[in-house]
């Protein structure tokens, strides 16, 4: 996509409503043991957005993602996909729905079938997009393109099993899958939490590249405000199943309004403004 096109796609009038929800609710258990995991949430996500949902564990982030993916049922409320109410009542319709919406999960090690080689993982994606009739040469060309998109060497990947790769490489292969599938929406559920800080930068840059080059809408789930601030345009803060605050990344991070956001920001380790107890200590023990 050229820069002109990007600007066109991101301008308010041209943005298409991609995914929206009205009064989405999820209740686990019943009677006395009722737990409200997601509580009457409304949202509107547009194409080309990169959205972060931030909250501590147990705030309902993952439940929301599972509902959007259709992995758990919705207790109440409606989810609209590309302007129409989504219909995933049969297996066939679900498959059709998943062509438009895909996910990357937290743990790359358990995301793969250990009996399938890497080529077959990628080949499945080509087939799912309707490339079953293509010639073998064309398929390999597509796989090579996907691998080079994520800086993996395709020739080293063939004839290997996913568990022979490192965590960072596996997560990159996951992104190569997404590149081949080209869904409209990508849900990334803490994709960097099990990867060390050095490979994290590459993963984040690839997500940004997916957005910029393919125009995918990405929902990024995290508990780390630093990550959310770096990647996203819009940040949603989730507390106990509700969005307590949302706005552009700069607005939310630099001028938080909700108490909960302030507390989250305060709990993230920072380098220019260290925690009170570490600051006091450093002043006492600082070398002369």
């Amino acid at each position: 996509m050229s820069s002109d096109n990007i600007e066109k796609a991101y301008s308010k009038e041209n943005r298409e409503l991609c995914l929206s929800g009205k009064g989405v609710t999820k209740v686990f258990g019943f009677g006395n043991r009722k737990t409200l995991a997601v509580d009457n949430v409304d949202f509107e996500f547009y194409t080309g957005d990169l959205i972060s949902i931030v909250g501590e564990s147990g705030s309902g982030k993952t439940t929301l993602i599972k509902m959007l993916l259709g992995l758990t049922s919705v207790t109440d409320g409606k989810i609209f996909f590309m302007g129409k109410e989504r219909d995933i009542r049969t297996r066939q319709k679900k498959k059709e729905y998943w062509k438009g919406i895909q996910a990357i999960f937290q743990d790359p090690f358990s995301s793969y079938n250990i009996f399938n080689k890497i080529d077959s993982v990628l080949l499945d994606c080509i087939h799912m997009r309707g490339g079953r009739r293509l010639k073998k040469k064309e398929k390999i060309e597509m796989m090579r393109e996907a691998c080079s998109f994520v800086n993996l060497k395709f020739d080293e990947m063939t004839n290997k099993y996913p568990f022979e790769l490192s965590g960072g490489q596996m997560q990159r292969l996951m992104i190569a899958r997404i590149f081949l599938l080209r869904p409209k929406i990508l849900l990334a559920d803490e994709p960097t939490s099990m990867i060390d800080a050095c490979s994290r930068a590459t993963i984040l840059d690839m997500l940004l590249k997916l957005r910029d080059e393919i125009g995918m809408m990405i929902i990024f789930i995290t508990h780390d405000m630093g990550l959310a601030y770096y990647v996203s345009d819009t940040v949603y803060i989730m507390e106990k199943g509700k969005f307590v605050e949302y706005g552009s990344a700069d607005e939310v991070v630099l001028n938080p309004k909700a108490e909960y956001t302030k507390q989250l920001l305060n709990d993230v380790p920072k380098i220019h403004d260290p925690w009170e107890f570490s600051r006091n200590r450093r002043e006492v023990t600082a070398p002369d």
Partner: protein
Amino acid sequence: MGNIMLEVNGLTTKYVTRFKENVYAVSDVSFTLEEGRSVGIAGESGCGKSTLALSLMGYYFAPLHYIKGDIIIDGKNISGMKPDDVRKNVLGTEIAYIPQAAMNALNPTRKVIKFIEDVIRAHDPKATKKDIFDLARQRFEVLNLPVETLYKYSVELSGGMKQRTVIAVSTILSPKVLIADEPSSALDVTSQKMVIKMIRDLMDLGLIKSMIFITHELPLLYNVTDDIMVMYAAQLVESGTADQMIFDPLHPYSKGLMGSILVPEDGTRDVKLVAIPGTPPNLKKPPEGCRFAERCVYATPKCKVSGVAYHDFDNNRKCRCHMSENELREAYANEQ
């Protein structure tokens, strides 16, 4: 200058694989740790941080093998001791270790007080139940943990609470050195802060004399420890105080590592993250020259052939690089 609590000289250990290949996961590591100070170890995954932690305990079992080097804790050399002696005389009283998944260490069928009983009885078989309970209650009160936790099963506790309980149990005998191996990486930010606050409290109250903290989260390290050491491919490459290391790294690898810092602060959004290109060397056959030479932008032909010692720089810093401090600074200035 406080007493030296831990002194490590040229520690080298290896793993032996199924195919009898040697993997040198810690090679020639030397550092000292003074009383009342804490040091952090940073590095990529697979660089030997956790193996260093295991090696420091002196508790070797296959596939980890000790090759050479001294580990001196408060004047007592523990390297080369038998595993049984180490378990009875060193672990718990001299060194305590908190692994990454510490919360999974609690047996779900026993109450928390039972674990404390086990730890104390292992070192003092004659301890009475009352003594144990008094000690446990006093320690939990000091650390702001609810005393009822002692009579709970581990499944009744939340993740952060479990982690804090494990830390309280493992430091109940007031060890001289605490080794914390990513104690907070499985927790969210709120519980992470509580865990870190507790570890800091332990240090400030003098219940543990010194601490080694391992993580790859640099902003966290800056908040927790006084000094930071950076490890690459089984060797230490640079050490200095936290301020020096975060704001003024000298070694090209530390410089690259500091490029991966993500914090929600004004101005950080516009700075592009830089990942270090390439992959770390294979530790089965470590390269002869500088181990970082393959990935280093400033490498000269000399770097690839001859190795370099871990030598002193100004301001109590140490670095493993062929270039001098001025040369490095010049190189970085030219870059910008």
